[in-house]
């Protein structure tokens, strides 16, 4: 018996959901992003219970479940790559054309990794390599994680 479906084109409806969003960053996140924007500084904070220094800073420690927006620290702009990947495929949301890299970066003074980008010198990229934050020019910063344009391999 013939499969009638083979001789027809199924109807489809194309559509897209358009819902605008405005996410509240909150006081803790705002302090971090404002420091990026106005001072070119990367802030973290320390859990009073376990001593973990978080970046981005947190309002509470997930492990200890206590408030952490009490002990703020200024972290270095330099750190060590703990994991990385060079992205080779294109996707419209990417902030740079491939190839570029994502990296988990342990900033000096922090106990956790910061997820960010490495765009240049990819042939030198490996775990353990030292990197430094490259900020956008002050006039272009707007209180956004990409006020750090990327990290550069030192």
């Amino acid at each position: 018996m013939e499969n009638w479906l083979d001789s027809v084109t199924p109807l489809t409806l194309e559509g897209q959901i358009a819902v605008p969003y405005t996410w509240w960053v909150g006081e803790t996140g705002s302090r971090f992003l404002i420091a990026l924007r106005d001072e070119g500084k990367i802030l973290g904070n320390r859990c009073p219970s376990c001593g973990t220094v978080y970046v981005p800073p947190r309002k509470n420690c997930g492990r200890c479940y206590v408030d952490t927006d009490v002990a703020w620290v200024t972290l270095g702009s330099e750190g060590t790559v703990r994991s990385h990947t060079i992205v080779r495929f294109s996707f419209p949301l990417q902030p740079a054309p491939p190839p570029f890299a994502y990296a988990l970066i342990r900033l000096d003074g922090a106990d956790v990794g910061l997820l960010h980008l490495i765009k240049h010198d990819l042939e030198r990229l490996k775990t353990g390599v030292r990197v430094r934050a490259r900020f956008r020019p002050a006039s272009e910063r707007r209180g956004h994680i990409l006020d750090i344009d990327c990290f550069e391999i030192i």
């Binding site: 409806l13 959901i17 819902v19 605008p20 969003y21 509240w24 947190r58 509470n60 997930g62």
Partner: protein, 386 residues
């Protein structure tokens, strides 16, 4: 053998239209600490967590894993339950079954929403089937407006009759320190408010709120140690009846899902005369006509008599079945939390912790959830261990 389950602690944020001071995750943390304080537990003593919201209002995929730092789920079991407006009661019921199963003893239920982060109507419209419903009859208000029009035509109820529901709930909210809208309103103000979709006016309908609610459910084995008066779950029932809005337009039948869910719950809890046997009701009334029409669907009064039942004062704080001492949905609507708030507020009444909004001598309380395509959830709580 299923374990009995009780609520031993409740908490909620102070609800506002915007919470710019906290991210969603941080707002959840704020809520979670409160029921823990209420029953004297630490997060470490929680065995499992259930969380819910309506995804498209914040555009966070996999909220359970995203929430961990704020929900307290680090190295714990957590899962996400979501069913639209009924999310909060679905979350509560999921927590009940986590404990009733005998596998978990202290379960945390979290409902939350940061409605200010999105365009509520744009997000809610996507609940409709994209091929058949989305282009016409969708968003929260049009479907409720047609229900209201049909009810007015059938029973002769007036806009003023409905407005009384808003006046009652908004008045009650003044005694609830957490409520979003805490200013009383008059019948005249409701009638003069802008028309949105006939006959629904601005003050007939619920607001959008940023807020969260968290509740600790405990199994029988530990509940009595955690609360002086636990709020025992005596029955739960859910009917999510329809898939397409067009199927829900037989208005002569009433809110079928609420009729069926409440019948099942009443039967399980041994309730024969709801308005007499229940001492308080926290009902998910998203708009005023629900507060007339659904009195009938709940069996509080005979069909067609909803307006008279409310008009005669039976649902006031001093009436025979006080409705929404918390101020209800018309005073606070953080959607993912809203139905959980009904359960929490009903529990607060049973536990005797209602303060200025306490109804005296509550032995049994009703909580309902509403949402989706005219869906209903029903929970009955009581002071007596079942």
């Amino acid at each position: 053998m299923a374990q009995r389950v009780a609520i031993v602690g409740t908490g909620q944020t102070d609800h506002k239209s915007h919470r710019p001071d906290v991210s969603g995750r941080e707002m959840i943390r704020e809520a979670v600490q409160r029921p823990l304080d209420d029953c004297g537990l630490t997060i470490a003593e929680i065995d499992a967590i259930v969380i819910g919201n309506m995804d498209h209002f914040e555009s966070i995929n996999y909220v359970d894993t995203w929430s961990v730092e704020g929900s307290g789920a680090f190295m714990k079991p957590i899962m996400k339950v979501t069913t639209g407006g009924t999310t909060g009661t679905s979350v509560a019921i999921a927590a009940v079954y986590h404990a009733a199963s005998g596998l978990f003893e202290r379960v945390l239920a979290i409902g939350w929403e940061k409605n200010s982060e999105s365009d509520t109507t744009a997000a809610i419209i996507t609940c409709s089937d994209p091929v058949w419903d989305r282009f016409s009859y969708s968003g929260a208000i049009p479907s409720l407006a047609t229900e209201a029009s049909a009810y007015m035509q059938k029973t002769g109820a007036t806009q003023e009759d409905a407005a009384r529901v808003a006046v009652r709930d908004r008045n009650n909210a003044i005694h609830n320190p957490h409520a979003h809208l805490r200013r009383s309103i008059t019948l005249e103000e409701v009638m003069a408010s802008p028309m949105l979709a006939y006959p629904i006016k601005l003050l007939d309908i619920c607001p959008r709120t940023d807020g969260a609610c968290a509740v600790v459910f405990a199994a029988d084995s530990v509940a009595p140690k955690l609360a002086a008066q636990p709020a025992w779950i005596q029955a739960t029932a859910v009917r999510h009846t329809y898939t397409w809005f067009g199927d829900s337009t037989n208005y002569d039948a009433g809110l079928v899902s609420l009729q069926r869910a409440s019948r099942e719950a009443y039967q399980k809890a041994g309730i024969r005369r709801p308005a007499e046997d229940l001492d308080v009701a926290e009902l998910y009334l998203p708009y005023t006509w629900a507060g007339l029409k659904w009195m009938e669907d709940l069996g509080f009064c005979p069909p067609g008599e909803g307006a008279r039942f409310v008009g005669d004062g039976h649902t006031q704080m001093t009436g025979k079945i006080p409705v929404n001492p918390s101020g209800g949905v018309i005073s606070t609507n953080c959607i993912g939390a809203t139905a959980l708030l009904r359960v929490a507020e009903a529990a607060v009444q049973v536990m005797g912790k209602g303060g200025a909004r306490q109804v005296p001598g509550v032995r049994r309380a009703l909580a309902t959830g509403f949402g989706g395509c005219f869906w209903s959830d029903v929970v009955i709580l009581g002071a007596a261990r079942p």
